[in-house]
Symmetry: C2
Subunit: 572 residues, 2 copies
């Protein structure tokens, strides 16, 4: 492709509304243009990247035995009423009336449509399992679309749906999809993690998210570099410290800590390790107050705490409630000498401490050398109520956890019989008995992947596309082609030769200044650049540079095609 034919449209500055790096770069590089809030046109350069994603997704879906279909974007309300989602979906669902005043929606997902198809076509266990997928335009009427195609209203999605005679069959396909998704993101050259979306235990769970790792990601992920364990931080289990609690070796003493309301400040004053302090968080649940104890360097995980019996609708206690229960202002409260009306729940790590520091329930005072069972009762409840931190042992016992941030680009889910029960998607089993099917669904945000890939792969000069996603593999930049017949003819011949060798090559035929062309080719993230210049040609040489490299190498003109091909092959 020649730049002059590409409808390339790069910008020096991104529009002010673009907050995220990928959004700015996609606008600047001319991958997308905004039509309206959350609606984007894919320009030729961007669409080529989308097609790369589609091709890999399609290849791996087909490899699992899934077959491609194409369902309408516009869906009749009746099916959504049958599944119950017409009432429950909320304003994200774009509802529309046709000319005959019948209700439809612009589909954000297709469980109902595929369910309706399968219940009509599948009669017998002999037709199961079956997995159908499509790559199709979806619409979600986000209340605040932002970040470009990362959170757009209209977007391309691969959605797959599998149907099974039993749970064992669903498990097999679920596992195959897990592996296919892993191959997809690996093939695209992305650093990613499959994240358990519920309990955090790998295997046997009903839902995994696939995250592209990027510092700007919306989700915090805990993962184990030594194993496949990964989970949302909110869901990753913090194990109890190994070994038994040390014996008490200090006597409890009261220390004056004027104005020191945090464990950090108190421990700094006392010269003690913050990991030997306990912070108390007072919460209200089921009509009474509870004091939650956490190690000073840990933070409360409200989701975990809320899963304990009687804690379902917990909220932080007010300053007045705290004062009433402890006689003291927040900042100095602690578990020693507490009224029995307040129940104590200790995190596993807090419960394992001896000789610890905690609030004295008296303004400007803390206690040190405190020990459970001696200075206060053993906590009534010990549970996992904190967020994991970097260095925690992995729940699978395989190493220690690291934290990172991710962008969700895929989600696989065992729907089980949620839709098949509601919509009566049934089949005759081997014994001739009518059964409802087990169902799974598997989504990939095709257009979102492009943004996530850029979020993960860029530098100050622009996008750095992984080879598998790049719209072109090689850019040819001729210097002074309008003044030098040799430069032009070598560039043209090279363009021809690389095309003939099956390389996707972009020839910058704009006769712009070198700086403009270099900047544009860097901005749009083409993995390799070849500069054709008069000076190099005098020595029979061209400049060859990988996008991430700072310095170009000189390559003999007669070896350049082979050189390019071997580099590309080495990367593939």
């Amino acid at each position: 492709m020649r730049v002059s034919r590409l409808f390339l449209s790069t910008l020096k500055e991104a529009p002010a509304e673009a907050e995220l790096v990928s959004h700015r770069l996609m606008l600047r590089a001319g991958l997308i243009r905004r039509l309206a809030s959350g609606l984007y046109t894919w320009l030729p350069l961007g669409l080529r990247v989308v097609r790369k994603v589609e091709a890999v997704v399609r290849r791996e879906m087909n490899a699992t035995g899934a077959v491609e279909v194409l369902m309408p974007a516009i869906q009749p309300a009746e099916l959504w009423q049958e599944s119950g989602r017409w009432d429950h979906y909320g304003p994200d669902l774009l509802r529309v009336k046709d000319r005959h005043d019948r209700d439809f929606c612009v589909g954000p997902t297709h469980e109902e449509v595929i369910g309706d198809l399968v219940r009509r076509e599948v009669k017998s266990y002999r037709q199961l399992p079956v997995t159908l997928y499509q790559i199709q335009t979806k619409f979600r009427d986000e209340i605040r679309p932002r970040f470009g195609v990362m959170r757009a209203r209209e977007f391309l999605m691969k959605d797959a749906y599998s149907f099974h005679a039993d749970k064992a069959g669903l498990d097999v396909t679920y596992q195959a999809m897990y592996e296919a998704y892993s191959r997809i993101f690996a093939s695209l050259g992305l650093r990613f993690r499959a994240v358990a979306a519920d309990t955090g235990a790998i295997g046997g769970t009903g839902s995994h998210e696939f995250h592209v790792l990027a510092d700007s990601g919306e989700d915090a992920i805990a993962y184990c570099p030594q194993s496949a364990f990964a989970a949302n931080v909110e869901l990753a289990e913090a194990l109890a410290p190994s070994g038994r609690r040390p014996d008490a070796s200090e006597t409890m003493r009261k220390v004056e800590t004027p104005g020191k309301k945090t464990c950090e400040a108190v421990c700094e004053q006392l010269g003690c390790d913050i990991r030997k302090s306990i912070k108390a968080v007072m919460v209200h649940a089921s009509g009474k107050l509870h004091m939650l104890l956490l190690r000073g360097d840990h933070s409360l995980n409200e989701i975990k705490a809320a899963k304990l019996p009687g804690m379902e609708r917990l909220r932080l206690a007010s300053a007045e409630e705290i004062k009433e229960a402890t006689g003291c202002a927040p900042g100095f409260i602690g578990p020693v000498g507490l009224s029995s009306a307040v129940s104590i729940i200790a995190d596993r790590s807090a419960a394992a401490l001896a000789d610890f520091v905690c609030g004295a329930n008296e303004a400007d005072y803390h206690l040190a050398g405190v020990n459970f069972g001696r200075d206060l009762p053993e906590p009534a409840i010990v549970a996992d109520i904190r967020n994991v931190v970097s260095g925690d042992p992995s729940p699978d016992g395989a190493g220690t956890l690291e934290l990172c941030r991710g962008i969700e680009v895929g989600h696989i889910f065992q729907l089980r019989k949620k839709y098949s029960d509601a919509m009566n998607i049934a089949f005759l089993d081997e014994g001739g008995k009518l059964q409802t099917v087990e169902m799974g669904c598997y989504g990939i945000g095709v257009t979102r992947i492009v943004a996530a890939a850029i979020e993960q792969n860029h530098d100050a000069r622009g996008i750095i596309f992984p080879a598998a996603l790049a719209p072109f593999q090689v850019a040819i930049v001729p210097i002074g082609a309008n003044k030098s017949d040799e430069v032009r003819s070598v560039a043209e011949q090279l363009y021809q030769d690389l095309n003939d060798a099956g390389v996707e090559v972009l020839l910058d035929d704009r006769d712009e200044r070198p700086g403009v062309m270099f900047a544009d080719m860097d901005l749009i993230g083409i993995p390799y650049r070849i500069v054709v210049g008069e000076r190099g040609l005098k020595n029979g040489e061209l400049e060859f540079k990988q996008r991430r490299e700072e310095k170009a190498a000189n390559v003999r003109l007669e070896q350049i095609v082979e050189h390019v091909c071997s580099r590309l092959q080495a990367e593939a």
Copy 2:
């Protein structure tokens, strides 16, 4: 692909609502399934055919230098208000309000969106010409969707838009698109005609329709087998007969024609050629009556007649009006002795007659041997007011016309400045002056082509796909694979070998009865069928049959792959 993996779903009978052959066959063959009125899901088999169409369309679009983009399906109302179409489009436009009560539509076409893009991106004549296209889902809220995907509400369309500095540039791209469209339909293996959509004169016109020829087509087309001339019958010019009018050789006489109200009946009674009779049609326009004269075997073309001065809103005269003007009932009226209050307009063919038969303006009587200039004045106006018929001379002088019926699958159109004026799509010309662009648009009904192809290519057994459109090129049907290891292993090996040879092959691994498998493979229209049976294998032979052939040929097992490949190559 194995049939067991294809989600193949054939039907013995089509649902009753399917009127058109293609609709019935697409349902029976399991290419599509109905979701709701005018909304269809493409099943795996059908989607493969759609993808074949897309690939050819994309290839030929790219070959013209057009570049692919992808625009949102949901479009903001503001742009449609700017172009004026928000008010004028009518209820076919599916309008929708988002959660913030802003107006949008589900796009039936994208002139506004692409116009908005181009006016933002294109500043200078140096960026012109440019042609952008997409293959994308469209929605038209048809009042009565029918004929399956032929007239669906949601459909896939290739829409291209070109932008030019001047009319000459538009003409160049228009011609390139004309040729690309011709290559597309030829590549797809379809019999088609490019039809001038306005004047019928080839070249220099601003609009052509591309029709797939089929007896069931909605449009009647006149074309010249000896040239490229083709036009809608309504628009094709009927030339004046060549040579001068013969001299009068008979005397006018009145003949009794009791109850004979048509030229056919009168001429049959008189034993004269209907092509020597004149029928009179009384119409009302501009406040007065006009008698239109046509040769007895011709029919009035109201569109042509309405183009004559003063005839814009013509309507047929009522029986009362006819009686008042001629003193006679319809069926016996004629131009002789007519009141001068009624003006006479003669079709060119009628005006060229001598010694003709016509109504006598008296019930049950006609006149014979009538001659213009002797028995009545020469007609005040002679014009082309009839439909062309088979055998008429082609307007381009290259031969004689034939009639056929067609299904419109493509349309190319010179929009000129309709949108660029309304939306101010402008550029700076070489002299630095602001100019609005010339614009063209070019549509292809991608999903409609599949239906049209079937309408053109089918027999009593089902679909006969042209090779370029077939979802698979070859079907392997093993007979008794469940009883014979040899049959199964030969079929599996052949499946492998053909796949390896790059042939798209479908293996019927259902172990159904031969009749069921044969019927299904014929129904779904696979071009070639190979039968693997025990009897043939005894002689080292397989049965090979083309879909249109009645008898299979025996081919040696060791030669079958080569045989298939050479047949496919010969057809490509």
